[in-house]
């Protein structure tokens, strides 16, 4: 848990669907998320002229 009422579970990828399926009836919403990459530049700086 963070500083709030919601709960985050870290699990093996192979177990994620089973975990999410078990918890879905108990929750307002369930999101299954993979680790994300770093921040990145989407468009290189363009001169303001």
């Amino acid at each position: 848990m963070d500083a709030g009422p919601n709960v985050k579970i870290l699990c093996r990828a192979s177990d994620a669907d089973r975990v999410a399926g078990t918890l879905r009836p108990l929750a307002a919403g369930v999101h299954v998320l993979a680790p994300g990459g770093p921040a990145f530049v989407e468009s290189e700086p363009a001169s303001a002229g």
Partner: protein, 268 residues
């Protein structure tokens, strides 16, 4: 020449908790923390360095007052006496996801603004800069699993995130369970400061959480899920103890939260 730049960052969640500051102004944490970035959700921010007037647009609407001031003060840190700037930022994850957007927002802003200003800073310096906008944002500069070092320097130069393990290096998932998507009765900054100032458990949290962060970093690097989960739970319970023993108490846990925890325990 300075111009415009768009950057993208993911939110992150703490596995070993950040709770409380040793310096409120510089956003320096009382303890180190460990987190993981979350794929699938993004904040995309475009900064134009040099426009007619300062303007901040968040999620499709122009904001003013304290929300805008927080962003503009952050730009002042990059270059005092800067030109007017335009900031357009949007996050694609719902409030109902129960994730804080400030981590991805200030990570994307730090990267976009420095590039737009003509600076090419290394990730450690961008992380330290992002920390000044929102503490947890320093962890979203890097991907995958990261350690945010508490640091010792008064100026915060050594308080930034360092990468532990890349996003693709460990086949795990984060299941985010929303039991209450409403606004919190107590914001994080207020909650942290109340816990630090009034909870008799807070000194114990600071001492033990630092040890847990070091342990968690080792478990992440070893890809030891059982070890990591154990220290995650300890850190969370210690943080909750500082909240529930604060004056007045901070109670975030709901009956539904406990029901989810019990269900997870039964799955093990």
């Amino acid at each position: 020449m300075p111009g415009s730049c768009t950057a993208v960052a993911h939110p992150n969640i703490a596995l070993v908790k950040y709770w409380g500051k040793r310096d409120l102004t510089a956003n320096l944490p009382s303890t180190s923390s460990v987190s993981v970035a979350l794929a699938g959700f993004h904040t995309r921010t475009r900064v134009t360095w040099g426009s007619d007037v300062d303007e901040v647009r968040l999620d499709g609407r122009t904001v003013v007052g304290s929300q805008a001031e927080r962003v503009l003060r952050f730009l002042d840190r990059i270059r005092p006496g800067r030109p007017p700037c335009r900031v357009v930022s949007a996050s694609d994850f719902p409030v109902a996801a129960g994730l804080a957007s400030s981590s991805s927002a200030f990570a994307a802003l730090a990267l976009a603004a420095t590039r737009a200003a003509g600076l090419d800073l290394d990730p450690a310096r961008i992380s330290a800069l992002a920390r000044q906008g929102s503490g947890s944002a320093c962890r979203s500069v890097h991907g995958g699993f990261v350690l945010w070092r508490r640091g010792e320097a008064d100026d915060g130069s050594d308080s930034h995130a360092v990468p532990l393990l890349g996003a693709d290096a460990w086949d795990v998932r984060i299941v985010a369970v929303v039991v209450d998507a409403g606004p919190k009765a107590v914001g994080s900054t207020e909650g942290m400061e109340r816990s630090r100032a009034t909870s008799p458990c807070y000194p114990a949290f600071v001492e033990e959480n630092e040890r847990l962060a070091t342990l968690a970093a080792r478990y992440v690097e070893a890809r030891d899920l059982a070890g990591l989960v154990e220290v995650m739970e300890q850190s969370t319970l210690l943080m909750q103890a500082t909240m529930t023993t604060a004056v007045p108490p901070i109670r975030f846990v709901r009956a539904a939260s406990l029901g989810v925890i019990e269900a997870v325990s039964a799955l093990r």
